[in-house]
Amino acid sequence: MSRPQRDDLELVVLAVLADSAQYGYAITKAVDARSDGRIRVGPSVLYPLLARLEKSGYVTARWDEVSSDRTEGPGRRRKWYALSSKGERRLAQHIEAHRARVSMLETFIAPHADAEPTP
């Protein structure tokens, strides 16, 4: 399991939302599933991030009513997040920056990729 940096985390969450609108808990599960458990996004990190993405206009939110195990009568509300067009552009920027960074590092790594570690 790895701890992604803030920018990476933003990319991860935006990428998940690019597939479909999700609510908070579903996002944590989607990240877990897509990374085979190598990336975990805890709720204490996820919800402030979602709040920031919403404030920045990268995601839009809507509420949906769900049935509740804890209360009778009308259920509580669930907040769904969806990628906005601004968020799509943001995601594209993240992907481009990520690829540029990987490409740059590859130029250093490639000559040594098959080399035996020196004792």
């Binding site: 579903a26 709720p43 709040a51 404030k55 920045s56 195990d69 804890r70 907040k79």
Partner: protein, 382 residues
């Protein structure tokens, strides 16, 4: 669910809600969101074979201390408070007119039928600015201008604010707004607050990577430019005099900002069949529209069939060679790198303003600002 687990979850949620300083509605929404999260998580853990007690304990542990999460969420709304940075290259704000309320000459019910189509001055808002104006803010009765601007800058991804400018127009940082707003769009809040200013407004100007919060007068001062308008065939001493045209324009285009009317921002002179206007760029469309109406009215009166109005947007033709002759004759070339662009309707600088608006004379509008000299037709001292 066992009563003990419900109580523990409620206690966590209560403390979480109390730990936030956000308005009540937002606190309630976040509580709902966390409660649904806990319930979803507990359900999955129960399916995975955990006991109810363990499932609740783990779900709450994953959320962490309620106060810590509450503070993290609060911080999102207070972000950028001290990270505002100076930024150069400010664009003329496309949506300034939207916020200042100087928008259109739409016909209203019960008024005589307009002979000209409604005129809209606004340039289309760019997508980002439109999204920003639709972003909601939260204000309570103690909120100040600073609180509002923090939320705007937060939503815009940061940028600049010049507090001296706002002190000047009477919107200092610590001054309370006396406005409550839950989920109110920024555009609506600013439009409402802008009603407090007589000849000014708070406007948002897109800059690279964010937005500048500034005043309309500050934007205007930066975009003062000299424009020439063709009045040939419009002004004659029998029907429409030079004074008529001046009065029309100073009455309907940003009244109170003209030097001849006690303002400081704009001035105009008519020499022969040319009118020279030194004013903020945003005045151009409205002036051109008024002139086009005068021209159309004259054509109609003469039995004409409404001949085409020359120049862009009506009467503005930007007869730069004539202006240049005036300037050259008085050895007063613009000093800000500006050079005449035929047909552009004004001076266009080499600076970064993509809309061609620049300060005549450069220097942040200082040299290009109108003096207090009373300019009447024939003065000609450009």
């Amino acid at each position: 669910m066992k009563p003990g687990e419900a109580t523990r979850t409620d206690a966590w949620l209560d403390e979480f809600e109390r730990g936030m300083r956000a308005p009540a509605k937002r606190r309630r929404e976040l509580r709902d969101e966390m409660e649904t999260h806990v319930e979803d998580r507990v359900r999955d853990l129960l399916v995975a074979g955990q006991t109810e007690e363990t499932a609740h304990e783990r779900a709450l542990d994953e959320l962490g201390p309620p106060r810590a999460l509450a503070e993290s969420l609060d911080r999102v709304h207070r972000a950028h408070k001290r990270s505002m940075m100076m930024h150069a290259g400010v664009f003329v704000m496309a949506g300034a007119a939207l916020l200042t309320g100087v928008v259109s000459l739409n016909q209203t019910p019960g008024t005589p039928k307009a002979i000209a189509p409604a005129m809209t001055i606004d340039a289309p808002l760019d997508d980002d600015l439109e999204a920003l104006l639709a972003t909601t803010v939260y204000l309570d009765t103690d909120s100040t201008w600073e609180n509002l601007f923090e939320q705007i800058l937060d939503a815009a991804g940061g940028s600049i604010i010049d507090w001296d400018d706002f002190d000047r127009i009477g919107a200092s940082a610590e001054e309370a707004l006396f406005v409550s707003a839950d989920d109110a769009p920024i555009g609506v809040v600013l439009a409402m607050l802008n009603r407090r200013f007589d000849n000014d407004a708070v406007v948002l100007a897109p800059v690279s990577g964010g937005v500048e919060i500034t005043s309309q007068s500050a934007i205007d001062a930066r975009t003062v430019r000299l424009t020439a308008y063709d009045l040939s065939g419009i002004v004659d001493d029998d029907r429409v005099t030079s004074d008529d045209v001046i009065e029309l324009i100073t009455s309907f285009v940003a009244p109170g900002t003209w030097v001849d009317c006690g303002g400081e921002m704009a001035r105009l002179s008519i020499v022969g069949d040319r009118m020279f206007v030194e004013a903020p760029a945003r005045y151009d469309d409205r002036i051109a529209w008024i002139i086009s109406q005068l021209e159309e009215g004259r054509t109609t009166a003469a039995g004409g069939a409404g001949r085409a109005v020359p120049g862009q947007g009506g009467g503005a033709v930007g007869e730069i060679p004539l202006v240049e002759a005036f300037l050259n004759g008085r050895n007063s070339e613009p000093t800000g790198g500006g050079r005449p662009v035929p047909g552009a309707g004004g001076w266009q600088s080499n600076a970064s303003d993509p809309r061609g608006a620049s300060s005549l004379g450069g220097g942040g509008g200082g040299a290009g600002r109108p003096s207090s000299t009373n300019r009447r037709p024939g003065a000609g001292d450009f």
